[in-house]
């Protein structure tokens, strides 16, 4: 197809960018790592030393295996290389074992697994509509490569905090690229593999389902883009179903007898509405509204009469820093079911939209981002890292249209800033600021240059909001710790950060929705090609 046209012959810059970022990752080997490091070490140990039947029952460490089976097999494979570094890390009883060789191995495994991500990014670049004859720094594919490979969030979450997101997002992006290249079977296969590596991607499964059904199983559309019922291809549906089912059976087959146990590990509903640090979503705003209400009430009570008995209200302690359940003080508490309904409601319009006006792979990608963001906004126990699921795919759209670039800037800057509390050690303070500035300055200036025609990308209000992050950072990390309130309200800066960022993320979500629903069919040409 036209979309997969060759970009340019000279691709050495891609190699340079990938190698450069790998060097940077290697320098971060000795940086702080979170408990996720121990989580993955424990999984290495238990997959290595126990038979598969016991993997989901093992509970020596508190960090039990809670990823789907394929990821466990991935760890099992890694553990065979880990042997050559340090055998002690493969002993289940060695809790919190972190010898230099262990650190080196685990970090290197993340760095090497990112090769999948590199390949996926390269494939994504091929899907772009390329402007030829521009200089390198203004090429969309170059900008996209930097936005993905040097993504601030991935760097700090994977290579400082410690996780394997780069590898997983590699599989996701590759799957998206395959859909762009009309290789739908491969795309579906990759996505079902991804679901079996980490089930958080279930949130975007609706976009895949609707898109494949509408644009692939129905082979033709009417001239106005509406559905042609008679073009339904049973063969395609059956093939897709076979691909998905066989992946799941390969993955879950060995655990079929213990399915309830596996599922209870994968979906632990006993956790609270919000993670330890509030993710910047609707619930952060909801919580703060609740707190405000409480403060107003208690003030009212003191000034006038006892309208609400303050002692009878459950004290909300939502920033205790621990994963726990809690109750709201004034507003009704939120149940998991309610969040599920909210999430479904938030993504339904987008799904309807791509059913009626599919708008090709780009429409699908937009819908995917909305699904990711919708579940981030309304989901139960959302982790702030989940914002990457929206930011990374959105990068693909950002280099192609002005409006998307604008949404991307707002979402990525606020979303990345909301990751700051992940790294709370003083040693990592400079590095997270430098990396954030690096990524932000690049994305701002490169996208501005890319869409030079047509004035500023951000309107004054948005720019002011984003600039407001600078004083916020100064207050939260430099001024506030020196004040007396640090002892009594240590979590106030975190709260402030998530509430401030929640505004930006919500705004980006709304804008993205508007862009999907009002999206004219100007891009129809691409679809028909």
């Amino acid at each position: 197809t036209v979309m997969a046209a060759p970009v340019t012959n000279d691709q050495s810059w891609f190699f340079a960018l990938a190698l450069g970022v790998s060097f940077l990752k290697c320098l971060l080997i000795n940086a702080y790592h979170s408990t996720d490091f121990e989580v993955h070490r424990n999984w290495l140990a238990l997959t290595h030393s126990l038979p598969a039947a016991q993997w989901y029952y093992e509970a020596t460490s508190e960090w039990t295996l809670d990823y789907p089976p394929l990821f466990a097999w991935f760890e099992y494979g890694l553990s065979h290389i880990a042997r050559f570094f340090d055998k002690e890390m493969l002993v289940v009883q060695n809790l919190n074992y972190a010898s230099p060789a262990t650190i080196l191995f685990q970090r290197l495994s993340v760095i090497v697994a990112d090769v999948v991500f590199f390949y996926a990014v390269k494939e994504c670049c091929k899907c772009l509509r390329e402007d030829k004859g521009k200089d390198l720094l203004g090429k969309p594919s170059f900008i996209l490569t930097v936005l993905l490979l040097w993504n601030f969030g991935l760097l700090i979450v994977d290579h400082i905090h410690f996780q394997y997101n780069g590898f997983l997002f590699g599989v996701l992006l590759l799957s998206i690229a395959r859909h762009f290249q009309n290789r739908h079977f491969e795309g579906a296969l990759l996505f079902s593999i991804l679901l079996n590596l980490k089930h958080i991607y279930l949130y975007i499964a609706p976009a895949y389902g609707i898109y494949l059904l509408r644009c692939f199983c129905f082979t033709q559309s009417n001239a106005d883009g509406s559905l042609q019922w008679r073009s339904f291809s049973v063969v395609r549906l059956v093939t897709l179903g076979t691909i998905v089912l066989s992946t799941f059976s390969v993955s879950f087959g060995p655990f079929i007898g213990q399915l309830p146990q596996v599922l209870s590990r994968l979906f632990p509903f006993k956790r609270g509405l919000c993670h330890a640090y509030w993710a910047p979503n609707i619930w952060a705003l909801y919580n703060i509204a609740d707190k405000n209400h409480l403060i107003v009430c208690s003030y009212y009570e003191r000034v006038k009469f006892k309208l609400l008995d303050i002692n009878k209200l459950p004290k909300a302690s939502m920033t205790g820093g621990l994963v726990q359940e809690f109750q709201h003080s004034v507003l009704p508490s939120v149940s998991p079911l309610a969040t599920l309904i909210c999430t479904v409601l938030s993504i339904l319009p987008a799904l309807f939209r791509i059913w009626h006006r599919p708008n090709g792979a780009r429409g699908f990608l937009r819908c995917l981002v909305i699904c990711a963001l919708g579940s981030f906004m309304f989901g139960w126990h959302v982790h702030e890292k989940a914002i990457l699921m929206a930011i990374l795919p959105l990068s693909l759209l950002a280099v192609e249209s002005r409006e998307d670039a604008r949404i991307f800037l707002i979402l990525s800057i606020t979303g990345h800033y909301s990751l700051f509390p992940l790294l709370f050690t003083t040693q990592e303070l400079p590095i997270k600021i430098f990396l954030m500035l690096l990524f932000t300055i690049f994305s701002l200036t490169s996208l501005k240059t890319l869409f030079r025609k047509g004035g500023a990308l951000l309107n004054p209000l948005e720019a002011t909001y984003l600039l407001g992050l600078i004083p916020l950072e100064l207050i939260c990390e430099f001024v506030y710790p020196l004040t007396v309130w640090q002892k009594t309200f240590p979590f106030l800066p975190l709260m402030l950060t998530s509430v401030y960022c929640a505004l930006g993320v919500t705004y980006a979500f709304i804008r993205l929705y508007i862009s999907l629903l009002t999206c004219s069919d100007s891009t129809k040409k691409i679809k028909t090609q």
């Binding site: 050495s12 290697c26 720094l137 430098f434």
Partner: protein, 506 residues
């Protein structure tokens, strides 16, 4: 993209890699009783904070000079004092007299690293940016690429943020001096260079080129007329700066003498450890250290150093332009490194910095860099536990320079500036392609270095010659350095006029 954003991206990349290197170990971490340079810097803070100025350089009951006694010029001492005040604010334990010896903690490491970063941002990085902005030829992209390469130069990053020193201060000040001279602000330039000299005595390596350039310029203006006033102004600036720096030590004549004695410890012998200079390499054949008396050694090294500096200095005196000045800086620092008395292994860093960055043929520069790096850094950094950042940053730098600069630069004969030399050789060797030879030489050096560093890190030396690998490394590096000094001298002396050839190549 605009220039400012490209430059700021370069700076941020530089800062990120600096801070990332600082996560690693430092010299003498957890190695009592002497520890390393990190402890030396901390100890100086302790001494300068707690003792009166006149005790700083003297061996007293409170100041044991055998335990990392202060042996840098006064500006370093003042810098330590300022750092000590901040340290006192943060945690008084860090600078407590006697009790703080060998103090190590995570937060203290952070503090020390932060002081390095602070001076870097304040002095060195702005100088590099201005230098690239004003004095690099070529398009703005080329300037950005050069800035990135200089900012990511691993030698400095590893020594300052890994091993622990404040080289970026003296180097940055000297760079400000070069900038000042280049922009025609001679007074500012000489002020900056005098400060550099008062921060680290090693900057003496470059004092002669500075002197000759300024003197030559004044002579050109006419010593009887404007030139004289100019000279008077410059010397006044230098004298006043010196006087201000040394003020607290001028009350008693014993004081400055003691400081000088501490700065130039002639008692320590011709050379220490394995340094790739003439004396150490010659030592393999003839045991100079035992054969000659101390005075003869001193005289010999002085005479040879002078001999190798003089031609380039005289040339600079007669033709004081910026190009000659840069070459003279390289020649002078190389001559000092190769022939002077009591050379420290890290002092090649200084020479290397100028050779690597002042803009000559790419392959020559990188070859140079390789040898420097390999010879003096590897054993040192392995000892400090910095193997990982060493490998990563030097590979990154090599790759980056080859990738970014080779596309923009061609290693032509003109680039090598050996036109005259070529005329001579053509008579005897008509089919000699110099640039190709240089390239081959580069790859050969690369392989030799890789093999030797591999052997010296992972292989056991034969029992008969325990020092085999270090000596091999030293000799190989020495031969290269000797080649470099001859080459750079040839270039400087034979270069008829730079401007014309420059225009042709552009």
């Amino acid at each position: 993209m605009e220039n400012w954003s490209l430059f700021s991206l370069c700076v941020l990349l530089g800062l990120t890699s600096r801070w990332a290197v600082s996560f690693h170990s430092y010299s003498g971490a957890g190695k009592p009783p002497m520890f390393g340079d990190y402890e030396a810097q901390r100890h100086w803070q302790e001494v300068t904070y707690n003792l009166p100025v006149h005790e700083w350089y003297f061996n007293t009951t409170n100041n044991d000079l055998n335990y990392w006694g202060l042996d840098y010029p006064p500006l370093t001492a003042y810098h330590s004092l300022v750092c000590a005040y901040v340290a006192k604010l943060l945690n008084p334990e860090w600078v407590e007299l006697h009790a703080s010896r060998g103090y190590e903690s995570h937060s203290h490491k952070l503090f020390m690293r932060a002081t390095v970063l602070f001076t870097d941002i304040l002095i060195y990085i702005p100088a590099v940016l201005l230098y690239c902005f004003y004095f690099c030829d070529g398009s703005s992209k080329q300037k950005v690429a050069t800035a990135l390469c200089i900012l990511l130069y691993p030698g400095l990053i590893l020594i300052d943020y890994g091993h622990f020193q404040y080289n970026s201060v003296s180097l940055g000040l000297a760079l400000w001096g070069i900038l000042g001279l280049g922009l025609g602000w001679d007074l500012f330039g000489s002020l900056a260079f005098t400060l550099a000299l008062n921060y680290k005595q090693m900057e003496l390596y470059h004092s002669l080129p500075f002197f000759c350039y300024l003197l030559g310029k004044c002579i050109k203006q006419g010593l009887t007329r404007r030139g004289f006033f100019q000279l008077a102004k410059i010397s006044l600036t230098v004298l006043v700066t010196f006087a201000l720096c040394w003020m607290p030590f001028l009350s008693d004549p014993k004081q400055p003498l003691q400081v000088l004695h501490r700065l130039f410890p002639f008692g320590r012998g011709l050379f220490e450890d394995k340094v790739a200079n003439t004396w150490c390499s010659l030592n393999v054949l003839i045991k100079i250290k035992t054969l000659l008396s101390r005075e003869t050694q001193l005289f010999l090294s002085f005479a040879l150093t002078l001999l190798f500096i003089l031609p380039s200095s005289l040339k600079l005196l007669s033709k004081p332009n910026l190009w000659q000045f840069k070459l003279a800086l390289v020649n002078s620092s190389l001559a000092f490194f190769l022939f002077s008395f009591q050379v420290h292994e890290k002092s090649i860093l200084l020479a290397a910095f100028y050779c690597t960055h002042l803009g000559f043929c790419l392959f020559l520069r990188l070859m140079f860099f390789l040898f420097v790096f390999f010879h003096s850094m590897l054993p040192l950094l392995v000892k400090d536990g910095l193997l990982l950042p060493y490998v990563v940053t030097s590979l990154a730098f090599l790759f980056l320079s080859l990738y970014l600069l080779s596309a923009l630069e061609r290693s032509t004969e003109e680039e090598l500036r050996l036109g005259l030399y070529r005329k001579l050789t053509q008579r005897w060797l008509p089919k000699l392609n110099l640039s190709r030879i240089i390239k081959w030489k580069f790859w050969f050096s690369l392989v030799a270095m890789a093999v030797l560093s591999f052997t010296s890190v992972w292989l056991e030396p034969p029992a008969k010659f325990p020092d085999l690998f270090p000596v091999l490394v030293s000799i190989l590096s020495f031969l290269h350095f000797l080649g470099f000094i001859i080459y750079f001298n040839l270039v400087q002396l034979m270069e008829p006029q730079r401007k014309k050839s420059q225009k042709k190549t552009n």
